[in-house]
Symmetry: C2
Subunit: 118 residues, 2 copies
DNA sequence: TCTTTATTTAAGTAATTGCTTAAATACAAT
DNA sequence: ATTGTATTTAAGCAATTACTTAAATAAAGA
């Protein structure tokens, strides 16, 4: 079911495009999922704060971001589930930090945010 | 209304964080909005295709992505509204292309997707 | 053991997303 | 003028998102 009936439609181009997409479909999926998680103001702020402070707990983040603890906890869970964060429990407190290996495509942005405040 | 009553909560750190966020609040907003748009499989595919092919029309994209034309059109509108795309009408056809200036934070990802298929 | 503190989980909800189909718009060609 | 092609816009809808409040879990300290 083609939508383009134009003469000028370049069948070779369309085939090339379809093949290219198939080759990278896995990467596209992974990157889209990371960008989707980072494409939220609260979560991007969390990334930035963890990038500056190394590690923070939900309750400190809730103070800084002026949001309820459960709201923060749900954002952290989403980031953790995607393996973008590590967490480490020390007594009652859980410290979250960035998994830089999994988050590497976000690094340029985080670095640029660091620059701003200098 | 502080949530952290912990002794170990470092007030200086929390103040520093709050200030940092305020300084970059505009950048955070802008970047989050771009990542939000790119953090969708269909739109990321459109970015990738436009990056490889220079320009494409909604109807070719609809063929390649196997989606209805209105569905594609709505994605393009969202990207165009955010100024991430240019559009140029030549007779009946509208050609979309990437506004690289506004999309520059996405470039590293687009480049890495290009590498994959080599 | 009982209370406090830090955190997560669950349930409910309003807003947003991304599609669908149908209709509207705009331009070209006959 | 009329038909065909490319595109957008609109309305409707199911699924998802991001919060809320309340309850559950877990560890520490009195």
């Amino acid at each position: 079911m083609e939508n383009c009936i134009r003469e000028c439609a370049d069948k070779n181009q369309l085939n090339r495009c379809a093949e290219s997409l198939e080759e990278i479909s896995l990467e596209i999926q992974q990157i889209a999922s990371i960008l989707n998680i980072a494409g939220n103001e609260v979560r991007l702020k969390i990334f930035h704060l963890l990038n500056e402070e190394q590690e923070m707990c939900p309750c400190d983040l809730s103070d800084v971001l002026q949001m309820t603890v459960p709201a923060i906890s749900q954002h952290l869970k989403k980031m953790k589930t995607a393996k973008l964060l590590f967490s480490e429990k020390r007594s009652q407190t859980i410290y979250y930090s960035i998994n830089y290996e999994e988050s590497k495509i976000l690094l340029p942005m985080l670095e640029s945010l660091k620059q701003v405040s200098v």
